[in-house]
Protein backbone atom coordinates (compact mmCIF):
# COMPACT_ATOMS: atom_id res chain seq x y z
CA UNK A 1 0.00 0.00 0.00
CA UNK A 2 1.32 3.43 -0.98
CA UNK A 3 0.38 6.83 0.43
CA UNK A 4 0.45 10.05 -1.55
CA UNK A 5 -0.02 13.52 -0.10
CA UNK A 6 -0.66 16.55 -2.33
CA UNK A 7 0.33 19.92 -0.85
CA UNK A 8 -1.61 21.96 -3.45
CA UNK A 9 1.27 24.44 -3.30
CA UNK A 10 0.20 26.56 -6.24
CA UNK A 11 -3.23 27.57 -4.94
CA UNK A 12 -4.90 28.27 -1.63
CA UNK A 13 -7.94 26.11 -2.12
CA UNK A 14 -7.26 23.43 0.47
CA UNK A 15 -7.72 24.76 4.02
CA UNK A 16 -4.22 25.38 5.40
CA UNK A 17 -5.01 23.93 8.81
CA UNK A 18 -6.22 20.67 7.24
CA UNK A 19 -3.16 20.39 4.98
CA UNK A 20 -0.76 21.09 7.82
CA UNK A 21 -2.48 18.77 10.24
CA UNK A 22 -2.55 15.86 7.77
CA UNK A 23 1.10 16.38 6.85
CA UNK A 24 2.18 16.65 10.47
CA UNK A 25 0.38 13.48 11.49
CA UNK A 26 1.70 11.61 8.46
CA UNK A 27 5.19 12.85 9.27
CA UNK A 28 4.90 11.61 12.86
CA UNK A 29 3.21 8.33 11.96
CA UNK A 30 6.25 6.29 11.02
CA UNK A 31 4.61 5.47 7.69
CA UNK A 32 6.40 5.70 4.37
CA UNK A 33 4.80 8.13 1.93
CA UNK A 34 5.31 10.28 -1.12
CA UNK A 35 4.43 13.97 -0.99
CA UNK A 36 4.08 16.12 -4.07
CA UNK A 37 3.96 19.88 -4.28
CA UNK A 38 0.94 19.99 -6.58
CA UNK A 39 -0.83 17.26 -8.53
CA UNK A 40 -2.33 19.79 -10.96
CA UNK A 41 1.16 21.01 -11.82
CA UNK A 42 2.37 17.43 -12.32
CA UNK A 43 -0.62 16.66 -14.52
CA UNK A 44 0.00 19.76 -16.63
CA UNK A 45 3.59 18.62 -17.17
CA UNK A 46 2.61 14.97 -17.70
CA UNK A 47 5.20 14.24 -15.04
CA UNK A 48 6.46 10.63 -15.30
CA UNK A 49 6.23 10.50 -11.51
CA UNK A 50 2.44 10.25 -11.87
CA UNK A 51 2.79 6.92 -13.64
CA UNK A 52 5.04 5.60 -10.88
CA UNK A 53 2.37 6.53 -8.37
CA UNK A 54 -0.51 5.17 -10.45
CA UNK A 55 1.22 1.84 -11.12
CA UNK A 56 1.72 -0.85 -8.54
CA UNK A 57 -1.41 -1.50 -6.61
CA UNK A 58 -3.24 -0.08 -3.68
CA UNK A 59 -2.78 3.64 -3.15
CA UNK A 60 -4.33 6.15 -0.77
CA UNK A 61 -4.24 9.73 -1.97
CA UNK A 62 -4.82 12.74 0.27
CA UNK A 63 -5.66 15.58 -2.12
CA UNK A 64 -8.98 17.07 -3.22
CA UNK A 65 -12.16 15.86 -4.91
CA UNK A 66 -11.91 12.24 -6.11
CA UNK A 67 -13.32 13.15 -9.54
CA UNK A 68 -10.67 15.84 -9.97
CA UNK A 69 -7.83 13.53 -8.87
CA UNK A 70 -9.00 10.72 -11.15
CA UNK A 71 -9.07 12.93 -14.24
CA UNK A 72 -5.89 14.81 -13.35
CA UNK A 73 -4.02 11.50 -13.43
CA UNK A 74 -5.75 10.62 -16.68
CA UNK A 75 -4.83 14.01 -18.18
CA UNK A 76 -1.26 13.46 -17.00
CA UNK A 77 -1.03 10.20 -18.98
CA UNK A 78 -1.23 7.98 -15.90
CA UNK A 79 -4.79 6.72 -15.41
CA UNK A 80 -5.52 5.36 -11.96
CA UNK A 81 -6.89 1.87 -11.37
CA UNK A 82 -10.19 2.88 -9.77
CA UNK A 83 -10.62 -0.24 -7.70
CA UNK A 84 -7.25 0.02 -5.97
CA UNK A 85 -7.23 3.74 -5.21
CA UNK A 86 -8.81 5.64 -2.32
CA UNK A 87 -8.94 9.41 -2.65
CA UNK A 88 -9.34 11.47 0.52
CA UNK A 89 -10.64 14.98 0.10
CA UNK A 90 -8.77 17.63 2.11
CA UNK A 91 -11.03 20.38 0.68
CA UNK A 92 -14.10 18.95 2.39
CA UNK A 93 -13.15 16.46 5.08
CA UNK A 94 -11.63 16.96 8.51
CA UNK A 95 -7.94 16.19 9.02
CA UNK A 96 -8.72 13.64 11.73
CA UNK A 97 -10.93 11.64 9.36
CA UNK A 98 -8.36 11.76 6.57
CA UNK A 99 -5.51 10.62 8.78
CA UNK A 100 -7.66 7.84 10.23
CA UNK A 101 -8.18 6.51 6.68
CA UNK A 102 -4.55 6.94 5.71
CA UNK A 103 -3.11 5.00 8.62
CA UNK A 104 -5.80 2.28 8.59
Amino acid sequence: MKILYCNCTYAKIVPTEVKQSVLRQLSDSGLAFDAVADLCDMSARRDPGLKKIADGGCTKIAACYPRAVKWLFHAGGAPLQDESVTVLNMREDAAVDIVRELVK
Binding site: M1, K2, L4, N7, T9, Y10, A11, I13, Q20, L23, R24, S27, D28, G30, L31, A32, F33, D34, A35, V36, A37, D38, L39, C40, D41, M42, S43, A44, R45, D47, P48, G49, K51, K52, I53, G56, G57, C64, Y65, P66, R67, A68, V69, W71, L72, H74, A75, R91
Partner: protein
Amino acid sequence: MSRTEGKNLRVLLYEGPGSTPLENEARYQALSSLLNNGFEVTRPVEGQQVAPPDDSPLLILGLLKHPPDVAADVEVYVRNLADMSPVDAAREVREETGARALEAWKPWFPVIDFDRCTNCMQCLTFCLFDVYAVDKQQKITVQNQDNCKTDCPACSRVCPEVAILFPKYAKGPINGDVVREQDVQREAMKVDITTLLGGDLYGSLRTRQREARARFSTERDESKALLERKRCLGKLKKSLDIPDEVLMTLPSAEDIEERAARAKAKLAKRQAGSQTVRDSRPAPSDKEWGI
Protein backbone atom coordinates in the same frame (compact mmCIF):
# COMPACT_ATOMS: atom_id res chain seq x y z
CA MET B 1 10.73 26.71 -22.11
CA SER B 2 7.02 26.37 -21.46
CA ARG B 3 5.90 26.63 -17.87
CA THR B 4 4.67 23.05 -18.13
CA GLU B 5 8.03 21.64 -19.14
CA GLY B 6 11.05 20.49 -17.12
CA LYS B 7 11.73 17.89 -14.48
CA ASN B 8 11.12 18.37 -10.80
CA LEU B 9 13.72 17.50 -8.19
CA ARG B 10 12.64 14.62 -5.96
CA VAL B 11 13.96 14.67 -2.42
CA LEU B 12 14.37 11.49 -0.37
CA LEU B 13 14.20 12.31 3.33
CA TYR B 14 16.48 9.56 4.53
CA GLU B 15 16.46 8.27 8.11
CA GLY B 16 17.72 4.71 7.53
CA PRO B 17 20.97 2.96 8.46
CA GLY B 18 23.97 5.29 8.63
CA SER B 19 21.91 8.29 9.67
CA THR B 20 20.44 9.88 12.79
CA PRO B 21 16.62 9.94 12.73
CA LEU B 22 15.12 13.41 12.67
CA GLU B 23 13.09 14.80 15.53
CA ASN B 24 9.37 14.91 14.69
CA GLU B 25 9.30 18.71 14.48
CA ALA B 26 12.43 18.83 12.30
CA ARG B 27 10.97 16.21 9.94
CA TYR B 28 7.69 18.09 9.62
CA GLN B 29 9.45 21.40 9.02
CA ALA B 30 11.67 19.81 6.38
CA LEU B 31 8.69 18.27 4.60
CA SER B 32 6.60 21.41 4.78
CA SER B 33 9.31 23.80 3.60
CA LEU B 34 10.37 21.53 0.73
CA LEU B 35 6.79 21.11 -0.51
CA ASN B 36 6.06 24.82 -0.20
CA ASN B 37 9.10 25.46 -2.38
CA GLY B 38 7.86 23.14 -5.11
CA PHE B 39 9.93 20.01 -4.39
CA GLU B 40 8.58 16.50 -4.28
CA VAL B 41 9.48 14.57 -1.16
CA THR B 42 9.53 10.89 -0.32
CA ARG B 43 9.80 9.59 3.17
CA PRO B 44 10.98 5.98 2.85
CA VAL B 45 10.59 3.48 5.68
CA GLU B 46 12.15 0.06 5.48
CA GLY B 47 9.66 -2.61 4.50
CA GLN B 48 7.06 -0.11 3.28
CA GLN B 49 6.19 0.92 -0.25
CA VAL B 50 6.80 4.26 -1.93
CA ALA B 51 6.69 5.25 -5.59
CA PRO B 52 9.81 3.98 -7.40
CA PRO B 53 12.21 6.56 -8.85
CA ASP B 54 11.33 8.01 -12.23
CA ASP B 55 13.84 9.84 -14.40
CA SER B 56 13.86 12.94 -12.16
CA PRO B 57 17.11 13.73 -10.36
CA LEU B 58 17.11 12.43 -6.79
CA LEU B 59 18.46 14.23 -3.75
CA ILE B 60 19.08 12.22 -0.58
CA LEU B 61 18.80 14.41 2.49
CA GLY B 62 19.36 13.40 6.08
CA LEU B 63 21.51 13.62 9.17
CA LEU B 64 24.02 11.35 7.54
CA LYS B 65 26.96 9.66 9.23
CA HIS B 66 28.02 8.32 5.86
CA PRO B 67 26.42 8.40 2.40
CA PRO B 68 23.78 5.67 2.02
CA ASP B 69 24.01 3.05 -0.70
CA VAL B 70 21.31 3.75 -3.21
CA ALA B 71 20.69 1.58 -6.24
CA ALA B 72 18.88 3.90 -8.62
CA ASP B 73 19.18 4.38 -12.34
CA VAL B 74 18.99 8.17 -12.03
CA GLU B 75 21.26 11.06 -11.07
CA VAL B 76 21.67 10.87 -7.29
CA TYR B 77 22.89 13.73 -5.10
CA VAL B 78 23.55 13.56 -1.37
CA ARG B 79 23.45 16.43 1.12
CA ASN B 80 23.79 16.37 4.90
CA LEU B 81 21.23 18.22 6.96
CA ALA B 82 23.91 18.75 9.58
CA ASP B 83 25.51 21.22 7.14
CA MET B 84 22.56 23.07 5.61
CA SER B 85 18.81 23.55 5.69
CA PRO B 86 16.60 21.26 3.58
CA VAL B 87 15.52 24.05 1.24
CA ASP B 88 19.07 25.39 0.76
CA ALA B 89 20.27 21.89 -0.05
CA ALA B 90 17.44 21.30 -2.49
CA ARG B 91 17.92 24.67 -4.18
CA GLU B 92 21.64 24.01 -4.58
CA VAL B 93 21.01 20.67 -6.27
CA ARG B 94 18.20 22.13 -8.33
CA GLU B 95 20.60 24.67 -9.77
CA GLU B 96 23.19 22.00 -10.36
CA THR B 97 20.77 19.73 -12.21
CA GLY B 98 18.74 22.38 -14.00
CA ALA B 99 15.60 20.95 -12.44
CA ARG B 100 12.47 23.03 -12.53
CA ALA B 101 12.05 25.92 -10.10
CA LEU B 102 8.87 26.91 -8.28
CA GLU B 103 6.96 29.23 -10.53
CA ALA B 104 4.50 31.96 -9.85
CA TRP B 105 1.65 30.35 -11.70
CA LYS B 106 -1.54 28.61 -10.82
CA PRO B 107 -1.83 25.36 -12.78
CA TRP B 108 -5.05 26.42 -14.46
CA PHE B 109 -6.27 24.34 -17.36
CA PRO B 110 -9.36 22.30 -18.19
CA VAL B 111 -9.46 18.65 -17.19
CA ILE B 112 -12.00 16.51 -19.03
CA ASP B 113 -14.15 13.98 -17.21
CA PHE B 114 -14.46 11.33 -19.90
CA ASP B 115 -17.10 9.49 -17.89
CA ARG B 116 -19.38 12.43 -18.71
CA CYS B 117 -17.98 13.89 -21.95
CA THR B 118 -20.06 13.11 -25.06
CA ASN B 119 -17.47 14.52 -27.48
CA CYS B 120 -19.90 17.22 -28.61
CA MET B 121 -17.00 19.63 -29.33
CA GLN B 122 -18.87 22.58 -27.83
CA CYS B 123 -15.75 23.46 -25.78
CA LEU B 124 -13.55 23.36 -28.88
CA THR B 125 -15.90 25.65 -30.72
CA PHE B 126 -16.39 27.95 -27.76
CA CYS B 127 -12.80 28.46 -26.56
CA LEU B 128 -11.24 31.47 -28.24
CA PHE B 129 -7.71 30.57 -27.23
CA ASP B 130 -7.11 27.22 -28.99
CA VAL B 131 -6.88 25.25 -25.76
CA TYR B 132 -8.79 22.27 -27.20
CA ALA B 133 -8.06 19.94 -30.11
CA VAL B 134 -9.07 16.52 -31.39
CA ASP B 135 -6.78 13.52 -30.92
CA LYS B 136 -6.06 10.53 -33.15
CA GLN B 137 -9.16 8.74 -31.89
CA GLN B 138 -11.26 11.79 -32.84
CA LYS B 139 -11.76 12.58 -29.18
CA ILE B 140 -11.69 16.01 -27.67
CA THR B 141 -8.42 16.72 -25.90
CA VAL B 142 -6.71 19.56 -24.10
CA GLN B 143 -3.83 20.50 -26.35
CA ASN B 144 -2.54 23.96 -25.39
CA GLN B 145 -2.83 24.24 -21.62
CA ASP B 146 -0.58 27.29 -21.58
CA ASN B 147 -3.16 29.19 -23.64
CA CYS B 148 -5.83 28.81 -20.97
CA LYS B 149 -6.67 32.03 -19.13
CA THR B 150 -6.13 31.74 -15.40
CA ASP B 151 -9.35 31.77 -13.35
CA CYS B 152 -11.56 31.61 -16.46
CA PRO B 153 -13.93 28.60 -16.23
CA ALA B 154 -16.13 29.73 -19.14
CA CYS B 155 -15.74 26.55 -21.24
CA SER B 156 -16.88 24.43 -18.31
CA ARG B 157 -19.89 26.70 -17.98
CA VAL B 158 -20.96 25.97 -21.53
CA CYS B 159 -20.33 22.22 -21.34
CA PRO B 160 -23.80 20.62 -21.46
CA GLU B 161 -22.58 17.53 -19.60
CA VAL B 162 -20.67 19.31 -16.79
CA ALA B 163 -17.67 17.31 -18.00
CA ILE B 164 -15.00 20.00 -17.75
CA LEU B 165 -13.21 20.49 -14.46
CA PHE B 166 -10.91 23.15 -13.19
CA PRO B 167 -9.57 21.54 -9.99
CA LYS B 168 -8.34 24.89 -8.64
CA TYR B 169 -11.77 26.49 -9.02
CA ALA B 170 -13.56 27.52 -5.84
CA LYS B 171 -16.98 26.01 -6.40
CA GLY B 172 -18.49 22.70 -7.41
CA PRO B 173 -19.08 20.90 -9.60
CA ILE B 174 -16.42 22.67 -11.70
CA ASN B 175 -13.82 21.95 -9.01
CA GLY B 176 -14.47 18.21 -9.29
CA ASP B 177 -17.19 17.93 -6.68
CA VAL B 178 -19.95 15.42 -7.37
CA VAL B 179 -22.26 16.45 -10.24
CA ARG B 180 -25.87 16.64 -9.13
CA GLU B 181 -28.97 16.59 -11.30
CA GLN B 182 -29.63 20.28 -10.68
CA ASP B 183 -26.07 21.09 -11.89
CA VAL B 184 -26.78 19.39 -15.20
CA GLN B 185 -30.05 21.27 -15.56
CA ARG B 186 -28.40 24.60 -14.72
CA GLU B 187 -25.57 24.06 -17.19
CA ALA B 188 -28.05 22.95 -19.85
CA MET B 189 -29.72 26.33 -19.49
CA LYS B 190 -26.45 28.20 -19.68
CA VAL B 191 -25.28 26.33 -22.70
CA ASP B 192 -27.98 27.91 -24.76
CA ILE B 193 -25.85 30.86 -25.71
CA THR B 194 -28.41 31.99 -28.21
CA THR B 195 -30.81 32.62 -25.35
CA LEU B 196 -28.07 34.04 -23.21
CA LEU B 197 -27.27 36.81 -25.62
CA GLY B 198 -30.65 37.15 -27.21
CA GLY B 199 -29.78 35.54 -30.54
CA ASP B 200 -26.91 33.92 -32.37
CA LEU B 201 -23.68 34.75 -30.56
CA TYR B 202 -21.77 35.81 -33.64
CA GLY B 203 -24.79 37.50 -35.14
CA SER B 204 -25.32 39.27 -31.86
CA LEU B 205 -21.75 40.50 -31.78
CA ARG B 206 -22.05 41.61 -35.39
CA THR B 207 -25.28 43.49 -34.68
CA ARG B 208 -23.88 45.15 -31.60
CA GLN B 209 -20.82 46.23 -33.52
CA ARG B 210 -22.95 47.58 -36.39
CA GLU B 211 -25.14 49.46 -33.94
CA ALA B 212 -22.13 50.83 -32.12
CA ARG B 213 -20.66 52.02 -35.43
CA ALA B 214 -23.96 53.62 -36.38
CA ARG B 215 -24.11 55.39 -33.08
CA PHE B 216 -20.59 56.65 -33.51
CA SER B 217 -21.38 57.98 -36.96
CA THR B 218 -24.69 59.60 -36.05
CA GLU B 219 -24.25 60.66 -32.49
CA ARG B 220 -20.49 60.65 -32.09
CA ASP B 221 -21.26 59.59 -28.58
CA GLU B 222 -18.29 57.52 -27.52
CA SER B 223 -19.40 57.28 -23.94
CA LYS B 224 -22.72 55.63 -24.91
CA ALA B 225 -20.90 53.02 -26.97
CA LEU B 226 -18.53 52.29 -24.15
CA LEU B 227 -21.42 51.95 -21.75
CA GLU B 228 -23.11 49.50 -24.10
CA ARG B 229 -19.93 47.46 -24.43
CA LYS B 230 -19.52 47.46 -20.68
CA ARG B 231 -23.13 46.31 -20.20
CA CYS B 232 -22.73 43.43 -22.67
CA LEU B 233 -19.45 42.32 -21.20
CA GLY B 234 -20.91 42.55 -17.73
CA LYS B 235 -23.73 40.23 -18.77
CA LEU B 236 -21.28 37.74 -20.26
CA LYS B 237 -19.01 37.94 -17.23
CA LYS B 238 -21.85 37.27 -14.83
CA SER B 239 -23.34 34.43 -16.83
CA LEU B 240 -20.13 32.53 -17.48
CA ASP B 241 -18.03 33.67 -14.52
CA ILE B 242 -15.34 35.11 -16.79
CA PRO B 243 -12.67 37.17 -15.01
CA ASP B 244 -12.16 40.81 -16.05
CA GLU B 245 -8.63 40.11 -17.26
CA VAL B 246 -9.94 37.58 -19.77
CA LEU B 247 -12.62 39.92 -21.06
CA MET B 248 -9.94 42.51 -21.62
CA THR B 249 -8.11 40.10 -23.94
CA LEU B 250 -11.10 39.00 -26.00
CA PRO B 251 -10.54 39.19 -29.74
CA SER B 252 -12.64 41.38 -31.99
CA ALA B 253 -15.96 40.24 -33.48
CA GLU B 254 -14.25 39.60 -36.85
CA ASP B 255 -11.62 37.47 -35.19
CA ILE B 256 -14.30 35.50 -33.39
CA GLU B 257 -16.19 34.90 -36.61
CA GLU B 258 -13.03 33.78 -38.35
CA ARG B 259 -12.18 31.48 -35.47
CA ALA B 260 -15.68 29.99 -35.50
CA ALA B 261 -15.55 29.43 -39.24
CA ARG B 262 -12.17 27.75 -38.86
CA ALA B 263 -13.44 25.50 -36.07
CA LYS B 264 -16.52 24.56 -38.08
CA ALA B 265 -14.44 23.79 -41.16
CA LYS B 266 -12.06 21.73 -39.07
CA LEU B 267 -14.91 19.75 -37.56
CA ALA B 268 -16.56 19.21 -40.93
CA LYS B 269 -13.28 17.97 -42.35
CA ARG B 270 -12.82 15.57 -39.48
CA GLN B 271 -16.38 14.36 -39.66
CA ALA B 272 -15.84 13.70 -43.35
CA GLY B 273 -13.24 11.14 -42.33
CA SER B 274 -10.14 13.19 -42.72
CA GLN B 275 -7.00 11.73 -41.24
CA THR B 276 -5.99 15.13 -39.97
CA VAL B 277 -5.14 14.70 -36.33
CA ARG B 278 -4.23 18.07 -35.01
CA ASP B 279 -4.25 21.58 -36.19
CA SER B 280 -0.60 21.94 -37.03
CA ARG B 281 -0.83 25.69 -37.06
CA PRO B 282 0.54 27.38 -34.01
CA ALA B 283 -1.96 29.08 -31.72
CA PRO B 284 -2.61 32.66 -32.81
CA SER B 285 -0.36 35.17 -31.15
CA ASP B 286 -1.72 38.06 -29.13
CA LYS B 287 -1.05 40.26 -32.15
CA GLU B 288 -3.07 37.99 -34.42
CA TRP B 289 -5.94 38.17 -31.97
CA GLY B 290 -5.67 41.91 -32.12
CA ILE B 291 -4.90 42.16 -28.41
